[in-house]
Amino acid sequence: MRSLTRAVVIVIVLLAAAWFALSRNPHRPEAPPALHAQIAALDPVAAADPVTRGRYLAQAGDCIGCHQARGGAPFAGGVAIPTVFGTIYSSNLTPDRETGIGQWSADDFWRALHEGKGKDGEYLYPAFPFPNYTRITRPDSDAMYAYLMSLPPVRQPNRDNALRFPYNVRPLVAFWRMLYFTEGVYEPEPQKDATWNRGAYLASGLGHCVACHSPRNFLGGIARADELSGGVIAVQDWHAPSLTSDRQAGLGDWHVDEVVQLLKHGVSDRYAVFGPMAEVVHDSTQHLDENDLRAMAVYLKSLPAKASDDAPPERTTESMRADLVRRGTQVYAEQCVDCHRSNGEGVSRAYPALARNPGVIMGSTINAIRVVLNGGLPPGTAGNPRPYGMPPFAQKLSDDDVASVLTYVRNSWGNQAPAVPPADVQRYRSVPIE
């Protein structure tokens, strides 16, 4: 009964919101043909054959991030994607005629990317990032289709989703679409140059950065005003930081080169990727042309500063904080100093700097706690095939130790951030590592 009432309320809210959404009328100025030509000239695979082009684009879209199971065949799907609405299983994209997309036409494939609809016109769930893929051009869609059709067919039946009511009623996706889906290929911004537009096309379309780096509401939707302002990835429990020009939480103070290095190699002079971003670098961005990575960084750094950092205020007393720092000083000297060094600067491209590291001082402590508990090894990439790593400390350090060392690190070498209460560490011990 309760779930029925809830469903009715949700439907009413959705109808009201749908009316609001439909009454919007976005206006877009036209870009001059010269700009279109300049943007097209930046495409690094423009001259390649469709299969090669499609492969590059599928990498830019990180398709295998969801469509390849651990130890499974690429693009054969079957990955369980946990959401707050239940579990969705990714589908088989290989050209197998029975279990894959072997019977799909290029038009069917285009409709999936562009309209978010399956072969029979059914609504696809937005775990598939069609609100971003709708921006992909038709020639790029056709190239991706050609690439997928060139793969060896893998016979692997799709699994049924395990979503709760009312989310398992597929036609209800219509309401979600009215709220959060605007169909349309990327239209260049005439006020911006070709590089910016190339970056915007990649980051907002294929790259679907917004899917993780934005806060989502109770319907899994992203309010336009909150796009790329950072947020906790539901269920996975990692905080994807703001990618806007916000100076504290975002990319405002970052050099474009630093962003390019991280995306290309998984490590930069000062930082390293971990958690879900290690997967993105491994599967997607390391394969992209450096100019494309640079274009994405230029675009992201130009976005107006926004940070929906769920920063908790100081929650510890002054004396507790002093205790944490004292104990943390000792833990740091025993466990951390060999790699991160006494000045917190780490070792370039081996051990990340902790001084002025936004991942260390950001309001949300999820990432810092989880890195200490679970350790991390940046992805093995062409540019960094033998990464240095950090051991897990969950089995070695107590909640008090982890909270102490993080409080110390967050308040040394010019860092300044609220203390980490030991109870927060306890909370992330039980989160599945991946």
Binding site: H282, P385, Y388, P391, I433, E434
Partner: protein, 238 residues
């Protein structure tokens, strides 16, 4: 009194500077120098696996030192591909290349086991009858139940057999129990024919504990020998 010449005072000054820097160095915590090497990279592993992978006395983390390189490489790949389940290792191995895993395996294989690990286990009292039962199972197996002796594959000295059969001597008791358990439950999917899964099915709970307890107390020498003669059971991993 004779005044110090300019040279004398320079020498005294130098001595003071050198001494005080020595004092400062002695007071500051000793920070290991950084070098771009495989050894430096493998420092991330010692927290669980012991210095240079030499093992730890009282935890289930396995010794890596002196294990056959092919065995270590195959296990890291199994973690990467989810055929062997241990979340922290699945996470760490997820996106590493074959070449790097092979390099890691080769390095740990060349390290020496730490003899203190087994020595320190000997202070715990163990029932002599259970130990004898464990040793009998390891050395002779139980042919009537189709259970081969451990030594028939893992080497007469239980230091492993080349190319890829692991050493059992001195491995932590809880690690050995957990491994056999993971084959019993099917969470550890070795290549077919999965010999260890078949063997695990033929072992009772008390068999597993007895064998593991005895094995954990045997001093390893870290030198696996080339295998001689056929295996008593078909093995896809070998």
């Amino acid at each position: 009194m004779r005044t110090l010449s300019r040279w004398d005072s320079t020498i005294v000054l130098c001595a003071i500077v050198m001494l005080s820097s020595q004092v400062a160095r002695a007071q500051a915590p000793a920070i290991a120098p950084f070098e771009d090497s495989i050894e430096q990279r493998m420092k991330a592993c010692v927290v669980c696996h012991g210095e240079r992978g030499g093992g730890v006395a009282n935890a289930a983390f396995p010794r890596l030192a002196g294990q056959p390189a092919d065995y270590l490489a195959s296990q890291m790949k199994a973690f990467r591909e989810g055929r062997r389940t241990y979340a922290p290792m699945n996470y760490l191995m997820a996106r590493q290349t074959d070449a790097y895993l092979q390099e890691i395996a080769t390095w740990f294989s060349a390290q020496k086991p730490d003899p203190q690990v087994v020595e320190s286990r000997k202070r715990f009292a163990v029932d002599a009858g259970a130990l004898a039962a464990g040793e009998a199972l390891v050395r002779r197996g139980r042919p009537e139940a189709g259970l081969p002796a451990c030594v028939s594959c893992h080497g007469e000295t239980l230091n492993g057999s080349l190319p890829g059969i692991p050493a059992l001597a001195g491995m932590p008791r809880d690690f050995l129990i957990e491994q056999v358990g993971s084959w019993k439950t099917g969470s550890h999917r070795s290549p077919e024919p999965n010999c260890m899964a078949r063997i695990a099915q033929r072992m009772s709970g008390s068999d597993i504990v007895a064998a593991a307890t005895w094995l954990a107390l045997q001093q390893p020498d870290g030198t696996p020998q080339p295998r001689s003669g056929p295996l008593p059971i078909a093995c896809g991993s070998e």
